[in-house]
């Protein structure tokens, strides 16, 4: 087992947590102690503890454990000790020193002499919790047959992720605990332990009349159990049900080489100089010089923005080990032989995007192995190689990254999806007739489709595909599915390289101001209104074919039609504005994610870079927009999501 690889991951993730916890700690030092901060500190130390335990770094585990316990009490309302912020800062200092040792391979085994006094001090100021009566504890957790006598304990288990069958190990822990009490609940549940995404961490609610020590004794001889802790479960307020904890954000800190910071500083001093030149040009009313200085200032801003962007980018290969591992585990579990090939792993994506696509990708891989790839015998019957192949390919197209996941399994059954859609009331006959292949496959991403129709058995896809689609669209990305029965399925996700700044056309229409992402715009032209055809199913833009000498009949006939959306009408402009169709219409033709379309607008105001602001709830549910851009004059342009616009 390549421990170096795990070590690198540990060091970088632990460092991120320490830095984030440092930000929270400075809030404490400022005398602020909102619940959110206490929760956040608890989670950071909890995460560090779990990772350190898996790596066998006992000293880091013990230290973070003590701080975790302290914040666990505080977030449940205990009185904070006077020296809280000093203790936390000391603990963070000490933790980062130990992580640095670990990164050089110098830390193993016993608690170092340095950390122990600090741990003792933290333990000394940690308020104790009184155990609560069992009846109250058991009631909300499960429908336990009879309230068993005893205390409700919360057990936390970390199984060595490198162990064989970590899920089975966890099952052993549950089995042992059942000897001394009743397992009221566990997360993950027993039935989910064999899933390949089981991380090795499990939380158990145990009702037992034994003391903590004898519960611990039940599991302390089990192999590969890196950490087992048991403590009386926190007392829940009777009235307020415990809400879900806020979702932990992705890595929010970045380590930057000081040389890069120097470059920033250089760029900024350049900008300051140019601002000075601009300002003096304005004072002397030398507009020529002013224009020149402004141009140079814009250049500097651009350069700085690119540098910052680069820091946010991270190559895809950062997450390939996790994907490879999950495919291997999936294959092992299902008895199928699967290999994973990744091409284009050097393509970089925004850190936050990368972090967000791990789950959807894992989901897609699981579907591919579970429902796509056949068992070896079946594959051989079909003349395929016994080993199934899943490939992930990445490529950059302009301001988008396209990630394809392809398997050579049994493919999806279009007819079965059609039938299922009809039976489940997800589509009508007429609706289905108008759909192309892609749209039919996309039906499997409708929430509830797969569970309602058990489409997975027949189609080879579907479980949780709605979740995948939602996650991708939340990143302003899009998903397409293509499949051939017996040959395999390809899922393609197109994601913006960054979510911060885009190049866009700002257009005016009777309905207001809009921004159209320039990366998708193929052409801009003034079109005679005669080329715009109205039909029952919408408007189309007719394009003339190139003259064809062999076929004189076709020379002046329009041959292709592009669906056209008139922004005035699509966004409900007052009739008075839209009623008189002008002779010439300004049209932007676009091509995105395999879809072609055209937009008719009143006027193109400018082409410029706009800063994308998320719409936020509840407006973010409007799928036709991917965000909003603030313009120089203070007005707001809604950024069109061309894919969803053409779908609607």
């Amino acid at each position: 087992m390549d421990m170096q690889k795990y070590l690198d991951l540990f060091v970088s993730e632990a460092t991120e947590h320490i830095q984030a916890a440092g930000n929270d700690a400075s809030r404490l030092a400022a005398g602020l102690m909102p619940l959110e901060t206490l929760n956040s500190l608890f989670r950071h130390f909890h995460s560090i503890k779990g990772m350190a335990a898996s790596m066998g770094f006992e000293e880091i585990t013990a230290l973070s454990h003590s701080v975790e316990d302290l914040f666990d009490r505080l977030r449940k309302g205990a009185q904070p000790p006077a020296e809280l912020s000093e203790l936390v800062l000391e603990a963070l200092d000490s933790a980062s020193t130990m992580v640095a040792w670990a990164s050089r391979g110098e830390s193993r085994g016993e608690i170092s002499v340095d950390a122990r006094p600090l741990i003792d001090r933290i333990r000394a100021v940690t308020p104790s919790l009184t155990s609560r009566p069992a009846a109250a504890a058991a009631a909300p957790a499960t429908a336990a047959p009879a309230a068993p006598a005893g205390t409700c304990y919360e057990c936390h288990v970390v199984i060595d992720p490198r162990a064989d069958f970590p899920g089975a190990r966890a099952a052993l822990v549950l089995k042992r605990l059942e000897v001394v009490g009743q397992v009221a609940s566990s997360a993950p549940a027993r039935g989910d332990l064999q899933r390949p995404d089981f991380t090795g961490e499990m939380t158990i609610e145990l009702i037992s009349d034994r003391a903590e020590g004898s519960i611990r004794a039940m599991v302390n001889d089990l192999l590969d159990v890196k950490l087992f802790e048991v403590r009386p479960a926190p007392q829940r307020p009777a009235a307020a049900a415990p809400g879900p904890e806020p979702v932990e954000a992705g890595p929010t800190t970045v380590r930057i080489p000081t040389a890069t910071l120097d470059q920033f500083l250089d760029a900024i001093s350049e900008m300051i100089t140019r601002r000075g030149m601009l300002s003096s040009a304005i004072t002397t009313r030398d507009f020529h010089a002013a224009r020149e200085s402004l141009g140079k200032l814009s250049e500097s801003i651009d350069a700085l923005r690119k540098q910052v962007m680069l820091i946010r980018l991270m190559p895809f290969e950062h997450i390939t080990p996790r994907l490879t591992r999950s495919v291997r585990d999936l294959g092992r579990r299902t008895g199928k032989r699967v290999s994973l090939r990744i091409t284009g792993a050097e393509v970089a994506l925004d850190r936050s995007v990368l972090e967000e696509i791990i789950d959807p990708l894992n989901h897609i891989l699981r579907n591919a192995v579970d429902h796509g790839i056949e068992i070896p015998a079946e594959r051989e019957l079909m003349g395929k190689r016994p080993e199934g192949c899943i490939s992930i390919d990445l490529a950059r197209h302009g301001d988008h990254v396209v990630i394809g996941v392809e398997d050579d399994g049994k493919g999806m059954d279009k007819e079965a999806i059609r039938r299922a859609a009809l039976a489940g009331g997800f589509a009508t006959e007429a609706g289905l007739a108008a759909m192309d292949e892609h749209q039919i496959f996309l039906l499997t991403t409708i929430p509830g489709f797969s569970t309602a129709t058990r489409v997975t058995e027949v189609s080879g896809r579907g479980v949780g595909m709605d979740v995948v689609r939602t996650r991708i669209e939340a990143l302003h990305g899009h998903i397409t599915i293509s499949s051939r029965r017996g040959q395999g399925t390809r899922l393609e996700m197109s994601l913006p390289l960054t979510v911060a700044v885009i190049d866009a056309f700002v257009v005016e229409s009777g309905a207001g101001l809009f921004a159209v992402p320039a990366g998708s715009v193929a052409s801009v032209e003034l079109v005679e209104s005669g080329r715009i055809r109205r039909t029952i199913s919408g408007q189309f833009l007719a394009s003339r074919a190139a003259p064809n000498v062999d076929d004189p009949s076709g020379t002046d006939e329009p041959v292709s039609y592009t669906p056209l959306v008139s922004l005035d009408e699509a966004f409900g402009a007052p009739a008075s504005v839209a009623q008189e169709a002008p002779q010439l219409r300004q049209v932007l033709a676009y091509q995105t994610n395999g879809m072609r379309g055209a937009l008719a607008v009143d006027r193109i105001r400018e082409r410029r870079e706009v800063v994308v602001k998320p719409l936020g709830p509840p407006l973010e549910r409007l799928r036709k927009y991917s965000g909003a851009a603030l313009l120089d004059d203070g007005s707001v342009a809604l950024i069109l999501d061309l894919v969803n616009l053409s779908r609607s």
């Binding site: 064989d164 069958f165 899920g167 089975a168 099952a171 052993l172 089995k175 027993r190 332990l193 064999q194 001889d221 089990l222 192999l223 294959g331 092992r332 579990r333 299902t334 008895g335």
Partner: protein, 125 residues
Amino acid sequence: MTSDTLSVLIVDDALFMRSMIRDILTNTGRFEVVGEAANGREAVKKYRELKPGLVTMDIVMPELDGIEATREILKTDPQAVIVMCSALGQEALVIESIAAGARDFIVKPFTPEKVIRVVENLARR
């Protein structure tokens, strides 16, 4: 059987596996293989005769599989120490065996270290 060795019954339908486990265990000098069985039914019968201190139990076997055999053995002797021998990709079966009462498991391919680590840990308890 001497007092400082632990008696073991090896259950596996493959002779290769049985001899491998036998070699690994006997080489330590701390285990004595008192019997072998090639299927679950034979395993239950031999367990009753030999009352070994430890059983290594293959899962997929003809006649009676390892999980059923484990249930049978534990019915007559709830204290029986049974360690499952599983192939890759059988985690669900191992979890089922644990629910049935198996004390631990070893995943093939076997290496001496893997096997000894698990059985010695059980022997200590």
